[in-house]
Amino acid sequence: MSEHGHPTPKLYAIILACLVVGTVLTYRAAFWDMGIFNPVVALTIACTKATLVILFFMHVRYSSKLTKITISAGFFWLLIMITMSLSDYLTRTFLPQ
């Protein structure tokens, strides 16, 4: 019935370990000078951590398609807001004068 195949404590512990590793990684990486890639690395690690929390702690891996679509819609809308707002600011000085 509701046995959607829930994760086991062991799996939770593994995810916890991954999250801790990710945190340490992002902390250390902040002190290396990678130029433009610093924020890219930081956000990639953050997205990976968030994905792990969503898929396993929040059980989305075992949830219905509707749940998965809902979450994707949320991030998609956030992306719309960010990119279209930025598209104004980032194209402001490109006047062909």
Partner: protein, 256 residues
């Protein structure tokens, strides 16, 4: 359509009358919580959008502001909150299995870790108070990132000096200018972590209520939906912090 474990003549006491089965109730409630979290994504998202725009506009000031908050405490808090997410996931697992004592202890663990997080944040806010980094002049001693403000240590909180220490080639005038611009960084720091902390406090309230019900033994394999919903909320708050940590604390630490 309805495939509940109980027979059709007996209703689980927690089955609300608008639903046909516990399964439908669990399905609908979980979906409802996800829809609510969607609204939270958009609300924090608005803040993140504004933050992004200003980070691009005032990059140096954001670097300076970010460097002046304690990365050690931020790192610690991230680990604390991740830990609390783990204990919360375990609490949901225990509730689903019907292990009453385990549920209670894991919920308590989550609350303890959550409280630790808030305690650290309180310390961080207090530090900002001491250093005159609270934006505006209504709360605190007035924003003064460029000149520092401590009676015992005049250099405490002096961002302009810190900028010049990291890069001596920066002229004093522009260091002071950048330091003044950090007020925007701190506005976002307090708005974002403040909104986050506010959500944690609400989460606290939810957890207390869940703890009480778990203690009374209300949750088991037939019915653990409230714990699952509480878990979803708590994990969401964790995810917001997972993004806040690098965006606020780790903008650029390479020149330290």
């Amino acid at each position: 359509m309805s495939t509940s474990q109980t027979t059709t003549t007996e209703h689980h006491p927690a089955l609300a009358q608008q639903f046909d089965s516990m399964e439908q109730q669990q399905d609908a409630s979980t979906f409802g919580m996800w829809v609510f979290l969607l609204t939270e994504i958009m609300m924090f998202g608005g803040l993140f959008t504004a933050y992004l725009i200003y980070r691009i506009k005032y990059y140096d000031a954001f670097v300076a502001g970010s460097t002046s908050i304690s990365v050690g405490w931020g790192f610690t808090n991230t680990l604390v909150l991740i830990g609390s997410s783990f204990t919360m996931a375990m609490a949901v697992w225990a509730a689903q299995k019907g292990f009453r004592k385990a549920q209670v202890w894991f919920l308590i663990g989550t609350m303890v870790l959550g409280a630790a997080f808030l305690g650290v944040k309180a310390k961080e806010y207090h530090d900002k108070w001491d250093e005159c980094h609270i934006p505006g002049h209504i709360i605190g001693k007035g924003f003064n990132a460029w000149g520092g403000c401590s009676a015992t240590d005049p250099k405490l909180g002096n961002i302009a000096d810190e900028i010049r220490e990291r890069d001596p080639k920066v002229p004093k005038v522009s260091a002071v200018q950048t330091a003044k611009q950090t007020e925007i960084f701190f506005s976002f720091y307090f708005a974002m972590t403040g909104l986050h902390a506010f959500h944690m406090v609400i989460g606290f309230g939810l957890l207390s209520w869940l703890l009480w019900r778990a203690y009374k033994g209300e949750f088991g394999p037939q019915y653990y939906t409230p714990v699952e919903l509480g878990g979803l909320y708590w994990h969401f708050v964790d995810i917001v912090w997972i993004y806040l940590f690098p965006l606020l604390y780790l903008i650029s630490r390479t020149r330290t």
